[in-house]
Point group: C3
Chain length 186, copies 3
């Protein structure tokens, strides 16, 4: 069929193709990963940050969305806020920061996390606290679920100092996920 089109017809085809290519380019995922933190487990939270730092080494953008128990890793044990009622109950029962997260397995009333931390130190692996500090330097963004803050009575004043931390709703998480190459929950 080649050779049957005029220059004008070809130009129209090229214009139409150009529009379709632009639409494809627009809808591509960015070079970006999103991690959802939900469990608040030490091992799973560490996995998220180890992957985050690995991704940053490849210049991949990383957004970490913390919801439910996942938010407790970002409480600062040195910053306490006066609370009442149910907020106070949550305050007492929830881990006060990265140093108090339980393991998803073999927690054994806190012996497991100590054992893992000791093994990590022996093998020169970074602690969660070190991973967090490096993540801040590497530009990993942390987004805390506003609904969880409200539900568990958490206050911004008791959260860690971190260079890229903000509070977002589920709509913003969906936007991050939609623009990411991968998104998973820990």
């Amino acid at each position: 069929m080649a050779g049957s089109k005029s220059v004008e017809e070809l130009e129209k085809l090229v214009e139409e193709l150009s529009g379709r290519v632009a639409a494809l380019e627009q809808s591509q995922p960015e070079d970006r990963l999103t991690s959802g933190l939900l469990s608040g487990d030490l091992d799973k939270t560490m996995a998220a940050f180890i992957i985050a730092l690995g991704a940053r080494a490849f210049d991949i953008e990383v957004d970490i969305f913390a919801t439910f128990w996942g938010t407790t890793a970002f409480r600062d044990p040195k910053k306490r806020v006066e609370k009442r009622g149910m907020d106070r109950m949550f305050d007492t029962m929830l881990p006060a920061g990265a140093g108090q997260l339980p393991l998803s397995r073999m927690n054994m009333a806190g012996m497991g996390p100590r054992m893992i931390r000791k093994a990590m130190a022996q093998h020169g692996a970074k602690s969660l606290e070190e991973l967090l500090r490096e993540a801040g330097e590497a530009g990993v963004r942390i987004h805390i679920c506003t609904m969880t803050m409200d539900l568990m009575g958490l206050k911004p004043e008791e959260m860690i100092d971190y260079p890229h931390l903000d509070y977002v709703g589920v709509g913003q998480f969906i936007d991050f996920a939609n623009r990411s190459r991968q998104c998973w929950f820990f």
Copy 2:
């Protein structure tokens, strides 16, 4: 090198490009999310439905695939079926619906879920039962794993009334996942 091609050569190039663009368009993920429910935990199941409703607000299609313990959220406690042997054991031991799901953390023999539900009511957050009703209205589709139904002795007659619920195999889940922008497990 420009200016060296004839109209016929250009036409061939445009035809070839057009085919490649069509192939790219065909293989793009749809504006669609898939959530796998596996844990059957109250908090994780709620997270899946909060995200599902958020996504529907952006007109994103949502498929929820329930497998293993994830199926128990969709049992209707008012619909009981006579069972024998191992099916009966599962019937007794598995949560009978959304109202009986445990928490992934701080379950404390059922005290945790009650505490979370109370906090949610105080803060005007929707219960899982309300989320489920809204998901039905919003067109969120629920797909229950046939292998799990069989394994746990669950019967369609004991599942909730929901406008978009069906029973699928793992092949259909893979198809949903493959066509989705994101897919995760809760």
Copy 3:
């Protein structure tokens, strides 16, 4: 505006479009899924392999990345290695292979896994050991996290014989994930 371009101008446009289409083709995900195993739970590990085999039936490439407790499914109980200190503690406490994995729910000190295994046998569902053997035949690749091997004192000599098993760092996992249509953690 059609009909205003010369053949030379059209040729330039087609060349430019061709480059953009090639760039899009390059950045597309492959027909490939990646499963991360982190929990080491029997139910979740089985889900990963059932999906892996389902995906292979559609000719989708599958990479399974095992980290933390997820590695324990691949220990061979018949291959024991002399260990000392903390490595020995992990050796004793960690499940020695697929046959010893706990359930994520209703584990009941090992009664739950036995009950699930019995129900599976009754319904003709494949055991994890059978799934593993079939995954090997179907070309599912297993990648074990080197950092976990080190941390938990696991040795390659105690891992199962599997036709496609190797040891990788987090960077390689990120590469798998980035090239996959979907990636999730179990």
